[in-house]
Amino acid sequence: MKYHELPQPDQIETRVKEDAMGAYFMMFATSAIGIPLPLLNLVAAIIYYYVNRSKGKFVQFHTLQSLYSQIPVTLLNSGLVAWTIVNFVGDLNFTSFYWGYLVMVATANLVYFIFSIVGAVKARKGVFYYFLFFGKVAYHQVYQIRPERDSATLRNRPPGR
């Protein structure tokens, strides 16, 4: 599998760098609404991705990495909120599995937060920073050279010799 060559920091415009950094902060903002309404927050994040798609692969990569890493965190958070409400409404016990889950969710949020900050700072410098798993997925999706686009099936070709 082939990938597009990555741009070096000095080849990326400042505005692009700023947009890429903005993706991480945007995801923070949407994840706040995500606690009560997880779907809405993902919809907002996806819209943000499509709006910024045209800004080039560098922005796309950071937006996707941020979007993808936000999905599991959001789901975990909603799970926690739901579990807590069910316990209170049903007057159920807060079992040790609940507390274990709580610790796990807190860890996930902390890790997400730290990585996003680092990601944002690096993006501003025009540097690629790969999250475990999500970074590779985003890279693969954005920089993969799609054969149907880049070789035989191209419709527009230069004039023949």
Partner: protein, 258 residues
């Protein structure tokens, strides 16, 4: 590339799965506050019903004794300003000198204890001490610590039976006893009963220390450090304007009913 993505995913799932598992298995000091009062009361009812089925704790039904206990109980409850519990005092027929607390505000008192008390105020001070254990949720804390909330609230008949067995032999630690004593002194004062009656009661209990009939009485079971408790009870200073109002009961007549 795909393989490396998959490997990352497994690492991620593994790490977070392990965190969940590890912190679930790690035993938390469970907080009795996590058990609501309503649930505690429901549990307590089931326990009391079972305890009263035991021939050693058969309910003593006598209108005069019941109404006397009611009078004392009402006086004490009047002295409580904000309690979430609905107290229930049950007299059981036993020559043992005994009183104990069951979760949910249930206090069981033996006929032997009523006979042992020379005044209704002495009985009131035992009841106030037991109410201290209720308000401070001592019984519940102990059960939660020993069994965990999970087992405690399982609703399984066998478990309830076993818990009931534990309840009738409840003993507290020194700190809990001192808390209950202090609570009792304040409550007695608020209820216009001489708070230092506690000291009188402890002195009488101390004299009877070796009495076989008292061997299950929680007040003395763990730490018979009576001199200390007598001193603490005597050093309790009621407010300047404190005035004891006698409990209007013909105590000799009530004891005659036993």
């Amino acid at each position: 590339m795909q393989r490396s993505i998959l490997r990352d995913l497994l690492v991620l799932l593994g790490v977070f799965g392990l965190i969940w598992l590890a912190f679930s298995l790690f035993s938390y000091p469970e907080d009795p506050q996590l058990l609501s009062i309503e649930k505690e009361e429901r549990l307590g009812e089931a326990y009391v019903d079972l305890i009263l089925l035991n021939p050693m704790f058969r309910e003593f039904e006598n209108r005069q004794v019941d109404s006397a206990i009611r009078v004392i109980g009402d006086r004490l409850e009047g002295g409580l300003h904000d309690s979430e519990y609905n107290y229930r005092f049950v007299v059981f027929d036993s020559e043992m000198i005994n009183a104990f607390t069951v979760p949910g505000g249930n206090i069981l008192i033996s006929t032997g204890l009523i006979g042992f008390c020379d005044t209704p105020e002495e009985l009131a001070s035992v009841m106030a001490h037991e109410m201290g254990h209720v308000e401070e949720r001592h019984v519940l804390s102990r059960l939660v610590k020993e069994l965990g909330i999970e087992i405690l609230t399982s609703g399984d008949q066998y478990v309830i039976g076993e818990v009931t067995g534990l309840l009738t032999s409840t003993s507290f630690d020194r700190k809990q006893e001192e808390e209950a004593d202090l609570f009792a002194a304040h409550l007695l004062e608020e209820s216009a009963i001489e708070p230092r009656t506690l000291a009188t009661l402890f002195r009488k209990l101390e004299e009877e220390m070796d009495n076989e009939l008292m061997k299950h009485f929680e007040i003395i079971s763990t730490h018979p450090n009576f001199r200390f408790r007598i001193r603490e009870a005597l050093s309790f200073k009621p407010a300047e304007d404190f005035e004891a109002k006698p409990i209007e009961l013909d105590w000799e007549e009530i004891r005659g009913e036993l």
